[in-house]
Symmetry: C2
Subunit: 200 residues, 2 copies
DNA sequence: CGAAACCGATTGACTGGTCAGTCAGCCAGC
DNA sequence: GCTGGCTGACTGACCAGTCAATCGGTTTCG
């Protein structure tokens, strides 16, 4: 009854290996053979589980991005203050990086910021994140918690852009990345943005 | 005496064509032949003026980035308030986009955000921009114009990240891009960040 | 003054190397 | 002995960069 549960899930193995290799060499300079080698699997097996090299990255992105979208929407649905909601979003993203820096590096570098390739393919999903954040801002404005002379979309882009730039900074060692830095980042980003958004 | 002044500067012609093609198709999917065609020039001539396809993009980036660095440093050197300095920086970047959106698109998409390829090559130059902005913030803190509990590097990354995200939004039609939007952006970005940086 | 050598700009056919994706079959477990 | 997860050699397409040849203008020299 317990089904066949293969001792090792080769598909997962390939995805995990892909994260490591993409993070190390970047999507464009990794050969499919590199992924197979890293996964300890034959070249052809990658094509048994995935239609193409692109599909491997697409899968990695979608898996994690849907978690992000869920987290943002959950924050939005909570009873917290608008500011606390934004802090939750920042916290989730920062923690995602802390928990799995390689995966986040791949997602940001190869998708989110790769506007001419995967970024374009996934634009609708990426946009959904911007929109959800904008909704939090708009609701905050409606509730009087945020000032109304700033377009919610503008605010959303600034907020998300600031966070992503911080991640980029960590990824490329432009700024220090210790546990305290991560913790500070959550509050500081929110503080920076909110103290500019909240009335007076 | 008036020298030979060639009726057309083919090198410039190639660079300008490259901007258009890179903006349209992205660096990776433009063939050197596309650049030559767009420039109305023979394939081989591209290699007469440039060592490689990469060098064409490097040249485009360096030409403009040095202007940006100069603008930031000029702002920093001025007698203005720290807030006005930041607004000048934001203004310069926004105007760069307004003046030549294709070039800025190429620079942001293919270099600044292409962390695994050209972004890495030009990291030192890019960093210089972050550092100069951070210096403006640090000076502002020293002068008591900004509060001191926010790391200048952090602030710099957030500020720059917010601006770049806005440009990305314009580039990919995620947010409206009219003249008023550009004008608003300059003030709003600065306002958002500074009202969070200035004491109480 | 004209011819001839010279030289950088320009041309585009060609090559060498690189991979993504295919496919004909192998073999372990049922 | 069958089935499908698994293997990896092979191929077809693609393209950056090369290079031998041509062109058009300038200088040199008889």
């Amino acid at each position: 009854m317990a089904s066949k549960a293969p001792p090792v899930d080769k598909r997962r193995q390939i995805l995990d290996a892909a994260v490591r290799v993409f993070a190390r060499q970047g999507f464009h300079s990794t050969r499919v053979a590199d992924i197979a080698d890293e996964a300890g699997v034959a070249y052809g097996l990658v094509y048994h589980y995935f239609k193409s090299k692109d599909e491997v990255l697409n899968e990695l992105f979608s898996e994690r991005w849907s978690l992000l979208l869920a987290a943002i929407e959950e924050a939005d649905g909570s009873a917290e203050s608008p500011r606390a909601k934004l802090e939750a979003v920042a916290g989730f993203i920062v923690d995602s990086y802390r928990y799995d820096p390689e995966l986040m590096k791949v997602i940001i570098v190869e998708v989110t910021r790769a506007a001419n390739s995967f970024g374009r393919t996934h634009l609708p999903e990426i946009r959904r994140a911007y929109d959800s954040i904008a909704k939090i801002v708009a609701d905050g404005q409606a509730a009087g918690a945020f000032r109304r002379d700033i377009d919610p979309t503008f605010a959303s882009m600034s907020f998300y852009g600031a966070i992503e730039q911080l991640l980029s900074g960590w990824i490329f060692d432009v700024i220090p990345a210790s546990d305290t830095d991560f913790e500070q980042a959550k509050t500081l980003v929110t503080a920076t943005i909110c103290d500019g958004l909240e009335p007076r």
